[in-house]
């Protein structure tokens, strides 16, 4: 079976790209061999794995540079069921553009904030433009840090209908477990009962994207 190649990308920083990529990778790793490629020069995903060390529950995390995007994703796809790429937060980045040409699915995390939405307009347009070179590319916005008490959170799903890129039905709620997981160098799956709610959010997302 061909590997599913997923990029987590948004040109805006702080939208939760690495949190989504790392925890999604951990959840997918429980279903099949997974590798996480860290294309962000900040190396946050690699640091996350480094903190957990041998006791962590993350799949292998490897660095990715622009010149090796095609070969690295291709090689990973030959040996793994799932390949995830944590992308850099720059739309002008060669790495981001190349990654989008080599993956099947782009997930664009957005927080319930007007600033995140405005910044995502360019990202959505870039995805649509990339389909000329990669016609199989599918893309979805993923709502992150949702808060049931916040009016903006409730309004997000309808507002996202304005984009040319659809949104996943499921999103991530604002949960302390995601920060705790980073602190311990684990995924929320490795937190036991403390991470149960966050795992539920992720499992819903995984079911949705693997059923596409």
């Amino acid at each position: 079976m061909a590997a599913l190649r997923i990029a987590v990308a948004n040109q805006k920083g702080g939208t939760g790209k690495t949190t989504l990529a790392v925890n999604l990778a951990a959840g997918l790793h429980r279903r099949g061999t997974t590798v996480l490629l860290d294309a962000d020069p900040q190396g946050s995903a690699a640091n996350w794995a480094r903190v957990g060390g041998a006791d962590g529950d993350l799949p292998p995390v490897r660095g990715l540079v622009a010149a090796e995007v095609g070969s690295a994703i291709g090689q990973a796809a030959d040996s793994c069921r799932y390949v995830l790429v944590d992308c850099p937060p720059h739309l002008q980045s060669d790495t981001l553009r190349r990654v989008m040409e080599w993956v099947d699915l782009v997930l664009i995390p957005v927080q319930p904030s007007p600033l995140d939405l405005w910044a995502s307009v360019d990202m959505a347009a870039t995805v649509v433009g990339t389909r000329v070179r990669n016609p199989r590319l599918r893309a979805f916005m993923v709502l992150n840090q949702l808060d049931s008490r916040n009016a903006l959170s409730g309004a997000m799903h309808q507002a996202l209908a304005e984009f040319d890129v659809p949104a996943l039905t499921n999103g991530l709620m604002r949960r302390a477990a995601f920060r705790s997981a980073a602190l311990e160098g684990r995924s929320v799956y490795g937190l036991g009962s403390r991470g149960a709610s966050a795992v539920r959010d992720l499992e819903a997302i995984i079911k949705e994207i693997t059923g596409l």
């Binding site: 007007p114 939405l117 405005w118 309004a155 507002a159 304005e162």
Partner: protein, 61 residues
């Protein structure tokens, strides 16, 4: 749609329109030295066009 949704959707539409609009031509183009010299030449004795630095030497009768 509630108020928050309307505001979010309206903001997204405005940003999309701005991105879709062609770039506005730069109306503050820098004048080249040769252009400035030519402008001075057609306005002899005026207060603009460099006449303040080089006033016309006309002696009153």
């Amino acid at each position: 749609m509630n108020k928050a949704t309307n505001k979010l959707a309206s903001g997204i539409r405005k940003v999309k329109e701005r991105h879709a609009a062609p770039a506005v031509a730069d109306t503050t183009a820098v004048r080249r030295p040769a252009q400035r010299k030519a402008e001075r030449a057609v306005k002899p004795g005026g207060l603009d066009g460099g006449a303040f630095e080089h006033p016309p030497r006309v002696w009153p009768d």
